[in-house]
Symmetry: D2
Subunit: 280 residues, 4 copies
């Protein structure tokens, strides 16, 4: 049997001996660990291992699940194939910088993901998306209920693992947020919790801040209030108008979203209430 | 007569020809410009020149004032000697990192300033301050009215140009804020407008932000709401507790305060409502 | 006659009174200055003005040229229309991240430029480039002499103002470098002067640096030694392989190139020997 | 018996099962792990655990040593008390910014270290050092052989764990470098490998770089070529002279040295040839 690479994520109530327990199980099943991360917070233990083993993934999964269930009722175990590309459904509106960046990363295989489709409430980017050989769906947002239903349908039809709001300028309804809770990530063009909501660069300009930021976060029913995955900032000065802040800000929106997305598709991100654990 | 260096700051209602007007006046008075900054915003013009000239400073000042008064009733003109060290009165409490950094910069003559005295509501740092040959005043904050009066008295007695709250953990009263409006700067240990008020690192930890910041701003009667002079951030992650954020954050508190202070003592900072113009 | 915006760049031997001289000329010709930059270095004065005026651009140009020629034999004057998009010919090879970023910025009109054509020694990116409605030329690099000649021909035919090496993996020959001296900019994937030449991320990994960088610079006949326009860095750690550094590094290659290019097309960049003046 | 905190560092040839082995040993000895780091590189495994246990530190040390010796001849095991402050001997010359920063951190107990003495080839900082209650030794550098011998003697006499060159402007001789190999760290005021040796800010100015840096590294007999622990940069522009770069650069020298020192005293730094593993 061939050697395979496996990625194991564990999230359970902490007690002494758990790192030993899981690393033992890996060793006993012929696993050779190439990377291990460990974090304890709020009474919970977060573990992430990458290891190679000849073992069958389904059998291994059973082994780890049993071990976890012995320990605690609320253990969450995830054993994945790091070679399998995550399926990332991208939503966007008129502004294309985040979309185009994801298309370029997809082409460059910057990290393991594929884009099964792009959904937009504008036709603007159809031609470029299709030139990448990716289906493009125009879902107008005039009737919100219909639009949300169609987005959920497309996401399921294309077997999306993650939904990315790449400057999608519509607020998702509660049904969509809840249907894919923990699977939807957004890029907000401000350094949250400063300047949530609309026109953050105008807010930033009026307040006279010297740095503007971008925040990649999970989407919940509370607007711009989900757990933060990644943030970054860029320096501005008195010479910047809201428009030039917007322009400069695009660069960090793009890179913050990409780093956040890379984290989630590589199972580096664990949600812990309003906080995230992000193993580098 | 010897050549002297002069620094001219102008802040007046904008109209065509004003840059020509002031640079002409400098040229006509034998001035040679080594640096010039220009900014227009909200109908006002901000100019800063550094030039050398044999002219007498008081006469030059009259020339520029007359020119400005011809133009607009609300012109503000400031002609300074860049060699003259600004007198910076430092207030602090128990935490000494910002104070010690300022003492070290003063010793190194990092930029042109002197510290006529240090005022604190704790005796903690007396010995180190006095080892620098700088008077140290203990002003307990039990009786706020008395404390504030004493601070105002000491600031005047020591002919302070600027009052720096270097992690001074007391809110100044309105009388003090107003008496020295535009002359008091504070370092707040958060990236304002996020996390104003008390325990910002605890707030930042609870919200799960990935960057923590520091803000140097003018003090007004609205707490942590004055015009921002300088800001910076430092990256934190899930492994950081509020305590370790505090520890990491000290580095940027120190450098943000120092950069902000340098800006004001070198007349690089103009207040424009809630915003500042900061000529680099 | 309508008001027009003009951008004036001046680069000449410094002597007292020149800022007055040029700002006077602008005022005398009905100009209203919205932005002015001034820098003196190595005996030369660098000025950049943006102003509106009803004056005819060709007449204005004559006025400034005459003023400059009165002053010094080696004055350089440039009066441009800020509304006119610069023509940026992009060269690339297999890696597409910088190209795709420029295409996205072009579409978003991030700053005023147009891409008259893309030239590559690989067919890889033809489809995407053409989906943007931009001509794509495949110029194989097997015969270097022929390739270089063809590149020069295409640049002229498309009336290029700037040639951008957007990860073009061929060294330009001396004839091309000299033919368009001061008009060719490159993005090097290292923080020059560290790690010039080939495989900089491998060099960086071997040396164990904690930051990797990117440098946008003018191309001269000395490889990676032209004047630097813009640089930035990104943090790496022991967990990064040369491959993951490469991946992380793409983000700053993209943004450093874009900032550098924006600077040159907006006439913010003056070359002063091995150094550049970059007015923000 | 009371619970104690222990810090275990392991560095040995990698083979499958070692993480399990060591985490088992901790569990079997009643240990509860609060933090664990793991890195594999170049055939070697680097582990760092912090755990609490009632076990006696000497007995625990024997347990881990035996386990390691079973595995490989060249294993290195280090079990430390995280509460015990590291003894950091500081060397400096005329420039005091790094020294003063360390004194302030020491006072603030920023991280667990103590300064048993300061050694300098100038008397400049005696008064301030002594005001902190720390012995100050003046060791003139006129006779290098004598100076180096005295430095070695003082370091041993004061039972130094680490020797920090806090802008000490003398090159240590080979005997000193070798006597305390892996225990001496330096702050170099450039982003190595750019600008090693003397006057790096002047080199940086002449080359026209847009960022200047600082590097904290281990001292070896090859000047500025030891393994890098930490680096950072600060933005400069055409307006900066070598002197103002120096001024701005001090801020990052200070913070880079502090972060590097914190890493080594907390046993987060492992040397792997020319590279370091730095567990955050």
């Amino acid at each position: 049997m061939d050697n395979h690479t496996h990625r194991l994520c564990v999230n359970l109530s902490d007690k002494p001996g758990l790192l030993a327990r899981f690393s033992n199980l890996i060793a006993e099943n012929g696993g050779d660990i190439s990377s291990a991360h460990h974090h304890v917070e709020g009474g919970r233990l977060y573990l992430r291992f990458v290891f190679t083993s000849k073992g069958n993934r389904d059998e291994l999964r059973r082994v780890f699940l049993n071990a976890a269930q012995d320990t605690t009722a609320d253990a969450r175990i995830h054993l994945a194939d790091p070679e399998l590309p995550a399926r990332v459904v991208v939503l966007c509106s008129r502004e294309g910088h985040c979309l185009y960046d994801l298309l370029a990363r997809h082409l460059a295989q910057d990290f393991r993901f594929t884009i099964p489709c792009v959904i937009s409430n504008h036709e603007t980017h159809r031609r470029v998306v299709e030139s990448h050989g990716i289906p493009f769906y125009y879902v107008p947002s005039d009737d919100k209920v219909i639009a949300m239903r169609e987005i959920r349908r497309l996401f399921k039809e294309h077997q999306g693992d993650w939904m990315v709001l790449a400057r999608y300028m519509q607020v998702l309804d509660a049904e969509t947020c809840n249907a894919f809770a923990g699977k939807i990530i957004n890029i907000h063009h401000a350094f949250l919790p400063s300047f949530p909501g609309a026109r953050p660069y105008h807010q930033a300009h009026a307040r006279g801040v010297k740095l503007v930021g971008a925040t990649c976060h999970f989407v919940t029913t509370d607007l711009d209030d989900g757990a933060i995955i990644e943030q970054d900032i860029i320096r501005v000065d008195h010479g910047d108008s809201p428009e030039s802040m917007m322009q400069r800000g695009r660069d960090i929106e793009v890179s913050v979203l990409a780093r956040g997305l890379r984290g989630v598709v590589e199972d580096r991100v664990f949600v812990a209430g309003k906080r995230t654990v992000v193993f580098r």
